[in-house]
C-alpha cells in the first residue's frame, strides 16, 4: 500500500481480566476506503474508540502522517483532522441540517455582534449547502428539522458534517445498517466520494457484499488481533467470512 496516513502498531487494551485487543496492527491510507470487519466481540469498536480518541490504549503506538501521536480526548483527535460518524449519528433531530453540521462549531458574526455571541447563520447555511452540493447529497431543505429527513439523508448529513471538519481520517460505524437498498446505494457512493477527496475512510460493516463493493482494502479482526488483510478486488465473501470466523487463515495482501 501507499504510505499509511494513520497507523496503529501493537495496540493492546484490557477491561479488567478481559483482553479485548491483543497487539492489533492497523493502517489506513489517504484516499482509500478501508473496511474493518470482524465478528461481534472481535474488538472493532474498541479499536475505533482508541483511534478516534475516545479511549486510550494500554500498549502500542499510533502514528499519524508518520509521527507518533496520543489523543487525550475525541476533541484532540478532531483537532488533528480525525472524525467519527457514530451509528446513532448523534444528530439533533429538532435542528436543521446546517445547524447540525455546525453544532458546537458555530460561526459568529464579525465585529461587535460576534463578540456578543451572535451567530452568523447565513454563512453557516451557505457553507453547509456548499458541502452538501459538493458531496452530491440531496438534502432538499437545509432548514427542515433533521427528523423530517429520510434515514439516508440523515446519514448523509452526518457524513457531510464529518467531511467538513476532518481532513485526514473518518471512521464510519455501520453507516448503512438502518437503510433500505436505494439509500444504501447512495450512502456508498457518498463514502466513495469522501475517499476521493483524499480522506482515509475506515468503514465498519457487517455487510460483506457491501464491503467488497465500496472498500479498497479489508482488514479482519478476530479475538483482538488483525488476522488478515486483503485487497477488496482480490477477495471473496467466503474468504472474508472464513477469516472472521477462523475457518481460514488469511494472508496479508
Amino acid at each position: 500500500m501507499a504510505d499509511p496516513l494513520l497507523q496503529a502498531r501493537g495496540i493492546g487494551k484490557s477491561y479488567g481480566h478481559v483482553e479485548v485487543l491483543r497487539g492489533v496492527d492497523f493502517s489506513v491510507a489517504r484516499g482509500e476506503v478501508t473496511a474493518l470487519i470482524g465478528d461481534n466481540g472481535a474488538g472493532k469498536s474498541t479499536l475505533v474508540k482508541i483511534l478516534s480518541g475516545a479511549l486510550s490504549p494500554d500498549s502500542g503506538e499510533i502514528l499519524l502522517d508518520g509521527e507518533r501521536v496520543t489523543f487525550s480526548s475525541p476533541e484532540s483527535a478532531h483537532d488533528m483532522g480525525i472524525e467519527t460518524v457514530y451509528q446513532d449519528l448523534a444528530l439533533a433531530p429538532e435542528l436543521g441540517s446546517a445547524e447540525n453540521v455546525f453544532a458546537g462549531r458555530e460561526l459568529l458574526k464579525p465585529g461587535l455582534l460576534g463578540r456578543l455571541g451572535v451567530l452568523d447563520r447565513r454563512t453557516m447555511r451557505d457553507r453547509a449547502r456548499e458541502a452538501f452540493v459538493d458531496m452530491g447529497t440531496d438534502v432538499k431543505d437545509i432548514e427542515a428539522p433533521v427528523a423530517a429527513l429520510s434515514g439516508g439523508q440523515r446519514q448523509s448529513v452526518a457524513i457531510c458534517r464529518s467531511v467538513m471538519w476532518a481532513d485526514k481520517v473518518i471512521f464510519m460505524d455501520e453507516p448503512t445498517a438502518a437503510l433500505g437498498v436505494r439509500q444504501t446505494g447512495k450512502v456508498l457512493q457518498l463514502i466513495r466520494r469522501v475517499a476521493d477527496k483524499g480522506i482515509a475512510v475506515v468503514l465498519i460493516s457487517h455487510n460483506m457484499p457491501e464491503v467488497l463493493e465500496v472498500a479498497d482494502r479489508v482488514q479482519v479482526l478476530r479475538l483482538g488481533r488483525r488476522v488478515a488483510e486483503y485487497r477488496a478486488a482480490e477477495t471473496t465473501v467466503e474468504q472474508l467470512v472464513g477469516a472472521m470466523t477462523g475457518a481460514l487463515e488469511g494472508k496479508a495482501a
Partner: protein, 359 residues
C-alpha cells in the same frame, strides 16, 4: 379548532418547495439535486407561536366585539399587562429550561423566598432611599440564583430528575420563607419602593417595562446567539451536544441559574407591586408559567420553543380571564377553558411530531 388546519402547513410548505423546482413534477425525494430552503415567513406561519397568536387575536377581537365599551380600553390593557408581567419574567427563564429539555417547578416558591429576602434585607439596612431598595433587589436576585444553581447541580451532577429536584426545592424554598417570617407576611417596605409602584411612565407600571426588557433580551439571546443555539442542542439531543464538545452539565446549571435569577427578579417585582411578601399567593405560579410556555409551542421534550411563543402563551389565559370578567361570564371558566386548550395544544404538537417523524 383553528390550529388543526394551520398545523398541516409544514408538510404542505415542504411539498410546495420541492414541487416548484422539480421539473419531473413528482415532488418526490428522488428528484434532481436541489437544496432549497423554505422562506422564513412560511416557516414562521406554520409554527405554534403563529397559530396561538391567531387564537390570541381572535380572542381579543371576540371580547372587543362583545363588549366594545369595556374590553378594548386602556384600563384593560393596563390590567392585563400588569397581571402578566411577573409571570412573563419567570416564563422567559422557564422557556430556556424547557427548550433544554428540563423543568422547573420551584419558581413560585423561589419568587416568595426572594421577596422575603428582599424585604428582610431592606429592613436590616433600615431607613429609606434608593440604596436600600437597590440592595434589596440585588439580594432578591442573588437568593433566586442560589436556588437555581442548587437545582442545576442536583439535576446534572447528582442526576436527580428535574421534576423531583424542583418539587423538592419548591417545598424547601416556601418552608424557608415561612421560617424567616415566622409564617406572617412582611408588610413594611420603604417608601421609595411604594413610589415605584405608584409611578406609571406613559401609563404603564414599571413592572411592565421590566417584563418587556426581560422578554426582549431573553428572546434575542435564545434565537440569535451561540448560547441560545447550545440550549436547543442540549434539549434536542444531549449526547449530540456532548460529542460536539459542549459541556452539557455546565450549560444546564447556567439555565437553572437563569430561571432562579428571573424568579428572584419576579420576587422583587411582586414585592414592589403588592408591598407585602404574599407568601401564600404563589402556589400555582410555576404551573401557570408552564401552561403559558407550553401553549406558546415549547416542547416538553426539549429542542423546540421560543420566547415569542411564550409571550403569546402567557397572554392567552390573562386575556380570557379579563374577557370573562367584562362579559360577565364566571371567571372560573378561564381555568376550565385553559385546561382543555393546553391539552389540545400538546395533542396537536404531538400530531405534528408524529407526522414529521414518519417520513
Amino acid at each position: 379548532m383553528t390550529e388543526i388546519p394551520a398545523s398541516a402547513a409544514p408538510a404542505k410548505a415542504a411539498d410546495e418547495t420541492s414541487g416548484a423546482g422539480d421539473t419531473s413534477g413528482t415532488g418526490s425525494a428522488h428528484g434532481a439535486l436541489k437544496i432549497a430552503h423554505r422562506s422564513p415567513l412560511r416557516k414562521f406561519l406554520s409554527s405554534s407561536p403563529a397559530y396561538m397568536g391567531l387564537v390570541l387575536i381572535v380572542l381579543v377581537l371576540l371580547f372587543s366585539v362583545l363588549r366594545p365599551e369595556a374590553f378594548p380600553t386602556t384600563a384593560t390593557g393596563r390590567n392585563i399587562s400588569l397581571d402578566i408581567s411577573v409571570l412573563l419574567v419567570m416564563a422567559v427563564g422557564m422557556t430556556y429550561v424547557m427548550v433544554a429539555g428540563g423543568f422547573d417547578l420551584s419558581i413560585g416558591s423561589v419568587l416568595v423566598f426572594s421577596g422575603v429576602v428582599m424585604a428582610k434585607t431592606m429592613s436590616a439596612i433600615g431607613g429609606d432611599g434608593t440604596f436600600v431598595v437597590v440592595a434589596g433587589m440585588v439580594a432578591a436576585v442573588i437568593a433566586g440564583t442560589a436556588w437555581g444553581v442548587l437545582n442545576g447541580v442536583c439535576i446534572t451532577l447528582l442526576k436527580v430528575p428535574a421534576l423531583i429536584t424542583t418539587l423538592g426545592t419548591m417545598g424547601a424554598a416556601l418552608g424557608a420563607s415561612q421560617i424567616m417570617t415566622k409564617g406572617t407576611d412582611v408588610t413594611t417596605v420603604p417608601n421609595t419602593l411604594l413610589k415605584i409602584t405608584t409611578s406609571r411612565p406613559l401609563g404603564f407600571s414599571w413592572l411592565v417595562y421590566v417584563a418587556v426588557v426581560v422578554a426582549l433580551v431573553g428572546g434575542l439571546i435564545l434565537a440569535f446567539t451561540r448560547f441560545g443555539r447550545h440550549t436547543y442542542l442540549v434539549g434536542s439531543n444531549d449526547e449530540s451536544a456532548r460529542r460536539a464538545g459542549i459541556n452539557v452539565n455546565r450549560h444546564l446549571i447556567k439555565l437553572y441559574a437563569i430561571s432562579g435569577a428571573l424568579a428572584g427578579v419576579a420576587g422583587a417585582m411582586s414585592l414592589t407591586r403588592f408591598a407585602t411578601t404574599t407568601i401564600s399567593g404563589h402556589a400555582t405560579d410555576s404551573l401557570q408559567v408552564i401552561t403559558g410556555v407550553v401553549l406558546g409551542g415549547t416542547s416538553l421534550y426539549g429542542g423546540i420553543g421560543s420566547v415569542l411563543g411564550t409571550v403569546v402563551g402567557i397572554f392567552i389565559p390573562a386575556v380570557l380571564q379579563n374577557g370573562f370578567v367584562v362579559t360577565h361570564v364566571q371567571p372560573y371558566w378561564q381555568q376550565v377553558v385553559i385546561g382543555f386548550v393546553l391539552i389540545t395544544a400538546v395533542y396537536v404538537d404531538h400530531l405534528k411530531r408524529a407526522r414529521r417523524d414518519r417520513s
